[in-house]
């Protein structure tokens, strides 16, 4: 199958630091791909390159076979939703206004916006009375759901999530992980999710890329990494966080 997103030999430097070193990877349509690694591994940089928020120093980033560059990034970003840790909500706007921003910019009629917000509220399982609140009046989990609603507002085929559950406590986190897994499968989105949490990677990722210090260590399913590690580092990284191997996600 033709990959929805592909990196081919991508290198990115910040001054003297090499953030990504000849990284290649592919994400198939309607699957969830997890970028796994500890902080500083370069996984967030991959998302920024896909979004066009940064440009690679070498190699090429392809979205739907189109190279991401200054001339294409405005067009390509229209196909992406972006969620960051703790939601990245605008503190001066109510939850509903945060969600509606992208649709307002596209001059959607009010009724259509309201309809879509209602549908997303149901989809993400947010308590509808929370929509009137400002971000600081919401819990971490609620903020995250609102951030997800905002990214889904225009129904983009690609979702990019940067440590979306990083700021949540373990119970809320487990609950949301399960919810997200079902949601991604139902919606048929192509998802790239950045996390350092092995359990999350195992639950949500159809495929996983393990990164360290800007290099790819191993591609594969969780089972590949767990059972056929290419190096002792893979096993070390997986077992440092998990004692029991969770079951792999259902294929959407």
């Amino acid at each position: 199958m033709r990959p929805m997103i592909a990196l081919r030999g991508v290198t990115k430097r910040f001054g003297a630091t090499v953030a990504l070193d000849a990284v290649s990877l592919q994400v198939q349509p309607a699957t969830t791909h997890v970028l796994l690694g500890s902080s500083g591994s370069g996984k967030s940089t991959v998302l920024r390159l896909i979004l066009g928020l940064a440009a690679p120093d070498g190699g090429v980033v392809l979205v739907d076979d189109t190279p991401v560059d200054a001339s294409t990034r405005d067009r390509l970003v229209a196909r992406m939703g972006y969620v960051v840790q703790d939601g990245g909500l605008y503190p001066h706007l109510r939850a509903s206004d945060n969600v509606a921003l992208a649709a307002e910019a596209q001059a959607w009629p009010r009724a259509r916006i309201a309809e879509r917000v209602a549908a997303l509220t149901e989809l993400t399982g947010l308590d509808a009375s929370m929509l009137r609140r400002y971000p600081r009046e919401l819990s971490g989990g609620q903020r995250q759901r609102v951030g997800l609603m905002r990214a889904l507002m225009l129904d983009p085929p690609i979702l990019l999530l940067d440590e979306p559950l990083g700021a949540l406590d373990p119970i809320v986190r487990a609950e949301l992980q399960e919810h997200l897994g079902r949601l991604f499968a139902d919606l048929g989105k192509t998802v790239v999710l950045v996390t350092h949490d092995v359990r999350e990677a195992a639950r949500l990722g159809h495929t996983i890329t393990l990164l360290t210090a800007g290099r790819v260590v191993q591609h594969g399913t969780y089972a590949d990494l767990a059972e056929r590690p290419v190096s002792p580092f893979v096993t070390q990284f997986l077992t440092a966080q998990t004692l029991t191997a969770p079951s792999a996600p259902a294929r959407g």
């Binding site: 928020l53 990245g88 503190p91 109510r94 992208a102 910019a105 400002y134 971000p135």
Partner: protein, 501 residues
């Protein structure tokens, strides 16, 4: 409400820019900011009102010859009391002009008319405490040569003018321990208390006798003749011939030095208002005018109300203009870093110019009155607003701006919907600073005829009248407090609820 405000603003701007227009049934009477000038201007104003040919607008207390000259040449004022020596030396820059006829001939091409002498000459003179003069044997200016230890305080005009201290010092070969600049009204107290030994005065000064000050004789004839005259625009005298004739008839040759000193003393020492003093000279009460400009304590309340409106408009318009200009400048600075730094540096430099000097710089560009005062005040209010807008925008979390791009909000929507609201607290703090400080700075507008509370402060300084100074200073302080309180309310409206702590 909005309409009325708009009309008021329009009226103010019209009156600010209406200088130099054809006669419109109004004679604008000016004066400088010292007692005698106020009194002569008020006498002229009352005479004009009695004739009834024209209405009077008082633009008194202007901050010096530079201001009055510019004002009468541009038509911002039509008439004001002046002295022949000043006309010759400062305005015509030709000290050889001795007679009124010679001066008149030279001013005619400029469209200006000079009356005959009002009857007295008010020359510059040096004064010292009588007991000190006694002790040191000081009777003549040449006696000062033997007393280099003396300390002098001069008004700024005297300290700088060729016919003032620089010329006098050269003429007599004088050297003094100190010769500082000091506000004239304050110098009397400094001399009386012994902090200062010597000051410049006018020979018709009403306070000399009662403060036990002694004039030093100009034994080598340095000070030129300063006969008092009225200076008027020719078109005004031609348009209102009866008024001009009556002014000359009432004033020419009618005031000798002693009489003028008495009038000055009435205002300076007896605390009489200028309106009363003028009425006393004209013989009999002058009902309409006493109330309209400078009457008794009750009238001053009415005046404060009018000045409050003036002052408020000065502040609102100038801060409004500074907001309209400063926020876009802050945005530009945040968008284009290098040009922005340059822009902010230029505004910051403007801020280092003393407010009074900035006001004076406006005169050659915009004349006198509210217009130039508004321009200067706006420039002054610019820095806190532009700088805080810049700082607010620069402090926004970069991730939030990137998300705005991913959401494809577009430049304008991002600015209006995201960036400015997120910076609202910082921007409002800048506007608040600008408004509160402008209330204070606006009191200086009176020096160039801009009106407002400063009018009372300038007059109070000239008349050495603390009550009048306070009548201007206290409401200004209250207004600053009121603005501070008002902004607490405005903050609640402007700052998004999600950002308030």
């Amino acid at each position: 409400m909005t309409l009325r405000l708009a009309l008021a603003l329009g009226g103010l701007l019209a009156s600010a820019s209406g200088a130099g227009a054809a006669p419109d049934g109004v004679i604008r009477v000016g004066s400088k900011s010292f007692t005698e000038s106020y009194i002569l201007a008020e006498i002229a104003a009352q005479v004009i009102e009695q004739v009834g040919e024209a209405r009077v607008e008082r633009r008194v207390g202007l901050g010096g010859t530079g201001v009055t000259q510019r004002a009468i040449e541009s038509g911002a004022i039509d008439l004001y009391p002046e002295y022949t020596g000043t006309l010759a030396r400062v305005i015509l820059k030709d000290p050889s002009l001795q007679t009124i006829e010679a001066i008149r001939a030279r001013l005619a091409p400029r469209g200006l008319v000079v009356s005959g002498s009002l009857g007295f000459a008010n020359t510059y003179a040096l004064a010292t405490r009588a007991d000190l003069a006694e002790r040191l044997g000081l009777r003549r200016i040449s006696d000062l040569a033997a007393h280099r230890e003396l300390r002098a305080a001069f008004s700024s005009g005297f300290l700088e003018r060729e016919d003032g201290w620089p010329g006098l010092r050269a003429h007599y070969g004088l050297v003094l321990a100190r010769a500082d600049v000091m506000e004239h009204a304050l110098t009397y107290r400094a001399v009386a208390s012994g902090d200062v030994d010597l000051m410049d005065v006018f020979s018709t000064d009403g306070q000399l006798e009662r403060l036990h000050l002694r004039l030093l004789e100009d034994d080598r004839g340095f000070f030129p003749d300063y006969s008092a005259v009225l200076l008027a625009r020719r078109e005004t005298t031609e348009h209102f011939p009866r008024t001009w004739a009556r002014l000359r008839e009432t004033l020419e040759g009618r005031l000798d030095g002693r009489r003028m000193a008495q009038l000055n003393a009435m205002a300076d020492l007896d605390g009489k208002h200028v309106g009363e003093v003028a009425a006393a000279f004209l013989g009999g009460s002058s009902p309409s005018t006493a109330a309209s400009s400078t009457g008794g304590p009750r009238a001053i309340l009415g005046e404060i109300a009018a000045l409050t409106r003036d002052h408020l408009l000065l502040v609102l318009i100038s801060v409004g203009a500074a907001v309209a200009l400063g926020i876009p400048m802050g945005i530009v600075a945040a968008r284009f870093r290098r040009a922005g730094q340059l822009e902010l540096s230029v505004i910051a430099m403007l801020q280092t110019v003393p407010a009074l000097a900035l006001l004076m710089f406006m005169i050659p560009l915009f004349g006198i009155g509210k217009g130039p005062a508004l321009v200067a005040l706006s420039l002054y209010a610019l820095l806190p607003i532009a700088r805080n807008t810049y700082a607010g925008l620069m402090a926004i979390d970069r991730t939030l701006l990137e998300i705005a791009w991913v959401l494809r909000l577009g430049e304008l929507r991002r600015l209006l919907r995201i960036e400015l609201p997120l910076s609202a607290i910082t921007i409002m703090a800048g506007i608040k600073t600008a408004a509160v400080t402008t209330v204070g700075t606006a009191t200086l507008a009176a020096f160039i005829g801009g009106g407002g509370y400063g009018t009372l402060i300038v007059r109070g300084l000239a008349l050495d009248d603390t009550a009048t100074i306070l009548a201007g200073a206290a409401p200004a302080a209250l207004m600053a407090l009121a603005f501070h309180g008002l902004f607490e309310l405005v903050d609640r409206v402007v700052i998004p609820r999600g950002l308030r702590g």
